[in-house]
Structure formats: C-alpha cells, structure tokens
C-alpha cells in the first residue's frame, strides 16, 4: 500500500519534470545558454594557458584544481571512514 503511494507520487513528479522540458533549452543546441563565453574561454585558451591538448584535463588540474584537491580528500575520507567501521584488521599482522 505504502509502496503504491510512493509510486504514484513519484510518477506525478516524473510527469511534472518531463512536461516542463519544453520550457527548457533544447539538448545539443549550439545556442543553448550553457554554451557561453566560459566554455569558449576554455576551448580557445587552453593551449595558450596550459600548453596541453586535453581540455578536460586542463580544467580539472589547472583551472579548477581546487575541486580535485577536494575530491582526493573525499577519497581519503572514505578510506578513513571504512577503516573506522571495519576495524584495524587490515594492518599487517606481523607488526
């Protein structure tokens, strides 16, 4: 019973989301607002700024390098959290 209620609510949500798509920018359109001067800056200036060919690599390790620092921290956090849950058996037993 409860599951059906959730299903109906979520279906309604889906209908609302899909029906509002025609008021959103069309996918793949060159005139879409997300493809603005920021994206063009990355495309045009990567070679000059960082001297590499892969633009995505330039963004994650140079333009927005701080995000990647945060992301390595997420990895570190997850391993600390897993260690704190599953105990210290992973430590080499000889020591």
């Amino acid at each position: 019973m409860k599951n059906y209620l959730i299903l109906i609510t979520l279906t309604l949500l889906l209908i609302v989301l899909v029906s509002s798509l025609n008021e959103m920018p069309v996918m793949g359109d060159i005139a879409s607002p997300a493809y603005n001067e920021v994206a063009e800056y990355y495309i045009n200036n990567t070679q000059e700024d960082t001297n590499i060919t892969n633009i995505i690599s330039a963004i994650i390790t140079d333009y927005r390098a701080f995000d990647t620092l945060g992301e390595t921290t997420v990895l570190f956090t997850s391993i600390t959290a897993v260690v704190s849950v599953l105990g210290f058996s992973i430590k080499d037993k000889k020591e």
């Binding site: 008021e23 997300a34 333009y63 945060g70 956090t77 600390t80 849950v85």
Partner: protein, 497 residues
C-alpha cells in the same frame, strides 16, 4: 606569510593536520601537541581573517589567479569570517572536551581516526561556508556528509551503524538532489560562480521560469533533508542519540546549521530575493518552518532519553532559521544569521553538559536528573543557562534571536508568526524547565542533598564554562554579532558587490 592567502592557510592547516594524524601514535605526547598546535594556529588565523575582513571589507579569493568565471572563487564577507571563527573555536572546545570523553565510546586505537574525521569535518564546513562556487560547494558537501556519518558509526555498536546508514542514504539523496538543482541552474546560466549566476538569472529568469522553480525545489528539498526540517528529519533523532557525546555536540552545533546557511546563500546570493518573491517559494518554506517549530517541540516533550529530547529540540530550532529565511526581509535574514551562531552556542553547551553527566554518572534518562544539581552544580548550572536560552529568557542569546525574529515578522505584516514563536517558547518551557528545577530543588532518594563541587577534569569543565559564558555574553551584548551581520547584509541583498 602573505595575508591575502589566509582562507587557504586555514583550510590547508586543517587538511594537513587531518591527513597526517593516522601516522602518529594515539594519545602520545607528540600526537596531542600536533593536534592542538594546529587547532591553535587555525584559531589564530581565523581571528586574523576576521580582523582583516572587518578592516578592509569582503575578501574575494581566486584559486590559481584565474578570473572568477573560469576558476574557483571564495567570497569571505564579515559574517562568513565570523561563522568560520565560530566553527573553529567551538569545534576546538569540543575537541578539548572529547580528549577524555571519547574514550567512553571508542577504543584507544581508533582515536586517531576520530580526530582525522573531526578535522576533515571542520575543513569541509569552513570550505562550504566560504566558497562562492556551486560545484565546489557540492564537493565540500560530500566530504561533510561522509565525515558526519563516519563520526557516528565510529562507535562500535549496532544502533550506531544503523543510524549512520540511514543518515548516509538520506544524506546522499539530499546531495544528489542538490546536484540536480545545480545542473538545472547551470543549464540556463552557464556559470558556476554564484555572483555571476545571480547576474545571469536576473536577466534570463523570465525565459526559463520552470528551470528556476524546479531547481530551487530540488535544492530546498535536498538542503531541508540535510538540515532536518520537520517531515524530512527522520534520520536526526537516532543519529544524535546514539552518537558519541562530542560527535552529537559537533553535529548539532554546526553540521545542520551549515546546510541552513547554504540555503541562505542559495536564496539570497544565487537566485536573488526578487525572483524568489515572484515565484513565491518563500510562502511554502514558511509553512514547513512553522510545522517544524511546533512539531519538533511537541515530539521533544514526550522523550525519556535526554539526548533524544535535545535532538528533537534541534528540529524545532532549525525551524526558526528557516522561518527567518522565508520572511525574505532584511530583519528576517539577520534574525536567521544571528540564530545560527546563537543556537550553535546553546546546543553545544547542552550536549556537552549532558556528555559530562554521562561521563560522570552514566545516566541519560530525564527522570534521573532529580537532585543532580547538588552533585554537579557547575554542569547543571551551565545546562540551565542554555536551557533558559532555548526557552527565551531575556539576558541569554536565545531570547535575542526570538526578539529579532518577532520584529521581522511584525515588520513584514505577518504577526501570526509571533503567536507560533510564543507557543514554541511555551512548549520549550514544558520540557526544559522541569529538568533544571528538579535538578536543583527536587529531592532524590539516591543522593544526599549536600552541595558539592563537581570534580570533573579540567578538560571537561573548561569548555562547558566557556560556552555557557558565550551564551550569556552574546545575550547581553547581541551587537557583537549583529554588527557583523549588518555589515554583511549588502552582500546578500544586492546583486553583485
């Protein structure tokens, strides 16, 4: 040391100290020196940053010197720097408290993990408060949700694991919703910088009203889930009840507040208050806030476990912050901002005093508090001060936030909210007053009615006393906080800087 890099130094010291903690041996002399040395430095730097921002205005810091549109930018206004200072000071006090207290709950060899997680928690909270970039916010938010789950599950008990899993699932739904909201904003603006997003939205929002509406509802739901507003609070009581005492103190004091502050940022800095008023989403927010205020207090009344009672009272207090946001006026915003810090002081005092009682006596039932005031007068005194603040007795900071909130409600012509605030104060009195009164006046059959000194270790006593003093000082001189808020208000209310 160049003073322009202060925010980076604060974050880096926390991060380096966190990642090197597993290398040192638990509770050795060097371990403590390193931990408290780095915390001390962070406090000093946060204070310096506050002074710098106070004297020279809001600070914008770009990483890698890139233009704010293409790189990541921090925006540190007066209030943000105050909040960062509050976060590091109160967290430091809680860490001092936890040096003795945490050994009740976790084994000694796990303490390095615990401190690593607490330092990462401080790192992510400070970063989340300072950042002015939408995706950077998401990254910090994920660190925060992982660490805040992990400091619950670190206690080796099955109830902890279950509570933490529930929190992780709901928290991840929240962050995924927020990321979807951010994606929808990015879809129509093409910017990730909050200021630039705001500028773009103010010109394009008529073309894409659906985008803004859906994105804002996803973001509000996600942040409401993480900040535990009433119908979405189901993870909170379990999590706070079973967590180690210092963990619940840090979670109640700041983690939910940081999410509430993030909502303030979204409403005022990203979308802009004019757009919010036009699509009138603040009216819905007000309904949830009021339900949260009333229902949180109602649930708190029936609780037998004192930590669970405090947890439900947190739900009601988050309602105040949301109510302030939904009033969407200058006064309402400043009431919310004031309450974030005021409640952090009060709730951390309450949780730490309860932690001290559990440490000393091992009791956590509300009914066992009878006559306890004779044995632990200092602790229960601090508890009573914070409890009176929650009720709203003049002279303690909780009263001031209710006062500002009432003024704001009156100003925007919705005096009905004042009635709800009064009802909530009354409900708060029902569950807080009996504890304070019976602790000092009621006779208990187990104890003698002789006033004693409570022989707590200094590391437990000092944080409690300092936090209780903080409650009183900010209650008598609210201008200490309000002057920062007044200066910071223009960065929230006008477009750009």
């Amino acid at each position: 040391m160049n003073s322009a890099h202060l925010p980076v130094y604060i974050l880096l010291i926390l991060l380096v100290s966190a990642v090197t903690t597993p290398l040192t041996k638990a509770n050795s002399k060097f371990f403590n020196i390193k931990l408290f040395g780095s915390l001390f430095f962070v406090n000093i730097l946060a204070l310096l940053q506050l002074l710098m921002v106070w004297s020279s205005g809001p600070l914008r810091y770009s990483f890698g010197n890139w233009d704010s549109a293409i790189g990541i930018e921090f925006l540190i206004d007066e209030y943000t720097s105050l909040l960062v200072l509050a976060i590091v000071i109160i967290s430091t006090l809680i860490v001092i408290f936890s040096t003795k207290d945490i050994l009740l709950d976790i084994s000694k060899e796990k303490t390095p993990s615990y401190y690593t997680l607490v330092l990462l928690l401080m790192f992510s909270m400070s970063g989340m408060v300072m950042t002015n970039d939408l995706f950077n916010l998401y990254v910090f938010m994920e660190i925060l949700s992982l660490t805040s789950c992990a400091i619950i599950s670190i206690k080796d008990h099955r109830a902890n694991t279950m509570a933490s899993f529930k929190y992780l699932m709901l928290g991840t739904i929240g962050s995924v919703s927020i990321l979807l909201g951010i994606a929808m904003l990015y879809m129509v603006t093409g910017h990730l910088n909050m200021t630039l997003t705001n500028e773009t939205i103010s010109t394009v929002w008529q073309f894409y009203p659906r985008n803004i509406l859906i994105s804002l509802s996803f973001i509000t739901t996600g942040l409401g889930l993480k900040a535990a507003i009433f119908p979405l609070h189901i993870w909170l009581p379990d999590a706070y009840t079973v967590a180690p005492n210092s963990s619940s103190a840090i979670l109640a004091a700041f983690v939910t507040k940081v999410y509430a502050f993030t909502l303030i940022k979204f409403v005022y800095r990203v979308i802009g208050i004019e757009v919010i008023k036009t699509i009138s989403i603040n009216e819905y927010l007000a309904i949830f806030a009021v339900i949260s205020i009333i229902m949180g207090s109602m649930f708190a009344i029936g609780q037998k476990d004192i930590k669970r009672m405090l947890a439900y009272s947190s739900v009601s207090q988050i309602g105040y912050i949301f109510l302030g946001i939904s009033l969407s006026s200058e006064l309402g915003l400043s009431a919310s901002l004031f309450h974030i810090i005021a409640h952090a002081l009060m709730k951390s005092t309450l949780f730490l005093t309860v932690g001290a009682v559990i440490y000393k006596k091992g009791i956590r039932k509300v009914s066992d508090f009878d006559g306890l005031g004779y044995e632990m007068p200092l602790t229960l005194g601090a508890f009573s001060i914070a409890a009176l603040g929650m009720i709203g007795i003049p002279g303690i900071n909780g009263f001031m936030s209710k006062w500002y909130l009432s003024l704001a409600a009156f100003e925007v012509g919705k005096p009905i909210f004042i009635v709800f605030i009064l009802i909530s104060s009354f409900l708060n009195a029902i569950y807080f007053l009996p504890i304070g009164i019976s602790a000092f006046l009621k006779e208990s059959m187990y104890r003698e009615q002789v006033m004693q000194k409570d022989d707590l270790p200094l590391s437990l006593k000092a944080p409690i006393v300092l936090l209780a003093l903080g409650c009183i000082i900010t209650g008598i001189f609210p201008d200490i906080i309000m002057s920062f808020i007044e200066r910071a208000l223009p960065t929230f209310l006008s477009i750009g800087l």
